[in-house]
């Protein structure tokens, strides 16, 4: 890869890349350089939402974020939803809610959904169905019809201490 070096902070770890071209997106670096393949390339146009990650706590499209523009930012992918130091195999509550709520079918949209849901859940109050529907409206799912996903996220928001 031609370009300039950059260090990205992903899931709490500083990860250097020797050379990144200006047009290379964060999604490409996550997948091809770091092997973090949780974020998916569904459309490469910012529509489907399968590539959603958080940058500085806010869900964004990694396919529309240029890697060089992401230096010094906190990037979290689905692989980073479980806090570092948690026991092996631990799941974040929202991951558990989706898994147990039959809200995962083919699973291709799931990482993006989880990131958007995770950002919603950082708010304190329990979430309403309509808040979750609005909050997930940038993540297309072609399998589930959304109902079980919305239910799972609402239940995760109610279960929090």
């Amino acid at each position: 890869m031609t370009g300039e070096p950059v260090t990205l902070r992903v899931n709490g770890a500083e990860r250097p890349v020797a050379a990144v071209a200006p047009w290379t997106t964060l999604l490409t670096v996550l997948r091809d350089e770091f092997g973090l393949t949780g974020a998916k390339r569904g459309c490469n146009q910012g529509v489907c939402g399968a590539c959603t990650v958080t940058i500085d706590g806010e869900p964004v499209r990694s396919c529309l974020s240029l890697a060089l523009n992401c230096a010094d930012r906190d990037i979290v992918t689905v692989e980073g939803l479980v806090p570092a130091g948690a026991p092996a195999g631990a799941l974040a509550p929202v991951q558990q809610a989706l898994a147990e709520g039959n809200a995962v079918q083919c699973g291709f949209c799931t990482p993006g959904i989880l990131i958007s849901a995770h950002a919603l859940l950082r708010r304190n109050a329990p979430l309403t169905v309509d808040e979750v529907r609005a909050g997930l409206s940038g993540n297309l799912c072609r399998c589930s019809g959304y109902k079980k996903i919305v239910e799972a996220v609402v239940s995760a928001s109610e279960a929090r201490p």
Binding site: E4, T25, N44, G46, P59, G138
Partner: protein
């Protein structure tokens, strides 16, 4: 392709003077077009570190200056906007979806000037101005003169949108933005932005702009001016919608036919004006 990340407006303007330079704002449009091989700028000038572009501020007279790098989510939640200025936050809240609203910026969206985008009609209805800065200095362009043609604006090469300036809206005006789209977050089939003020039954402020019905948002100030001071019943609304429809030049595209746009936009304007009057009458 080269990538630069200046940290001041001056340095940004300097970086933009190169041939084939393009501003990278939120990336929501530019990177999508790069991914599709539609554009390949020679130099990407990232605006992320230019702090001055990210602010929004309300001045004592009620003018609100929105920095070009304000993201849609911030504009949707902007507490400095009041009365009729809220047309802008209503529009911002309806752009795309949450992750895209966390990325996309008002400057980026306006510079791209998609004819079906949400800001152009809202800014036109709010009588907003663009503050542009280039090698020659600053200039101000009213929104009505900024959006020129399909994807074309008054921005000159090497020029940057610094901010969007919303003048104070008269007290007790309401702003509203109504959008018809195939699904949530899609670009508009047609949209209506309006700012309305009523004194009893008399219309004291009227600005209606229609989006996605031509290369630029459509507004008929001449007819609006005629309607000021009078009532705003069926006949008056009809005068305005007829005049607007005359100025439409919509496309046939995958979202809808031009014919439908011509027919539905006046109905949406009527409905929006009726609802806005109701809102005013219900506000103590």
């Amino acid at each position: 392709m080269e990538f630069v990340r200046p940290d001041s407006i001056e340095a940004t303007v300097a970086a933009l003077q190169a041939d084939g330079a393009a501003c990278l704002a939120g990336g929501a449009t530019l990177v999508a077009m790069m991914n599709a091989d539609l554009v390949a700028p020679h130099r990407l000038v990232s605006l992320r570190d230019v702090a001055a572009l990210r602010e929004a501020a309300r001045q004592p007279d009620g003018t609100v200056v929105v920095g070009a790098m304000r993201r849609h989510r911030e504009t949707a939640e902007e507490t400095d906007l009041r009365d009729g200025q809220l047309v802008l936050s209503e529009a911002a809240a309806q752009i795309a979806n949450p992750p895209v609203r966390n990325m996309g910026t008002i400057g980026g969206s306006c510079a791209f000037a998609d004819p079906a985008a949400d800001y152009p009609p809202a800014l036109l209805a709010a009588d907003a101005r663009f503050s542009l800065i280039g090698a020659e200095g600053r200039r101000t362009v009213p929104a009505g003169d900024f959006f020129l043609d399909w994807y074309e604006t008054a921005l000159e090469p090497g020029e940057l949108i610094e901010s969007v300036v919303l003048p104070p809206a008269p007290a007790r005006t309401v702003g509203s933005y109504t959008k018809l789209a195939r699904v949530a977050g899609d670009f508009a089939i047609a949209s209506v932005a309006l700012v309305l003020g009523m004194d009893g039954r008399a219309c004291i402020h009227l600005a209606v702009a229609v989006g996605a019905c031509g290369p630029a948002p459509v507004r008929r100030r001449d007819v609006e001016a005629d309607l000021i001071g009078g009532g705003l019943g069926d006949t008056e609304i009809r005068r305005l919608t007829d005049a607007l429809a005359e100025a439409f030049d919509p496309v046939d595209d995958v979202r809808a036919s031009a014919d439908y746009r011509r027919r539905v936009a006046p109905r949406m304007v009527r409905q929006a004006l009726v609802e806005a009057q109701q809102r005013i009458s219900e506000t103590p």
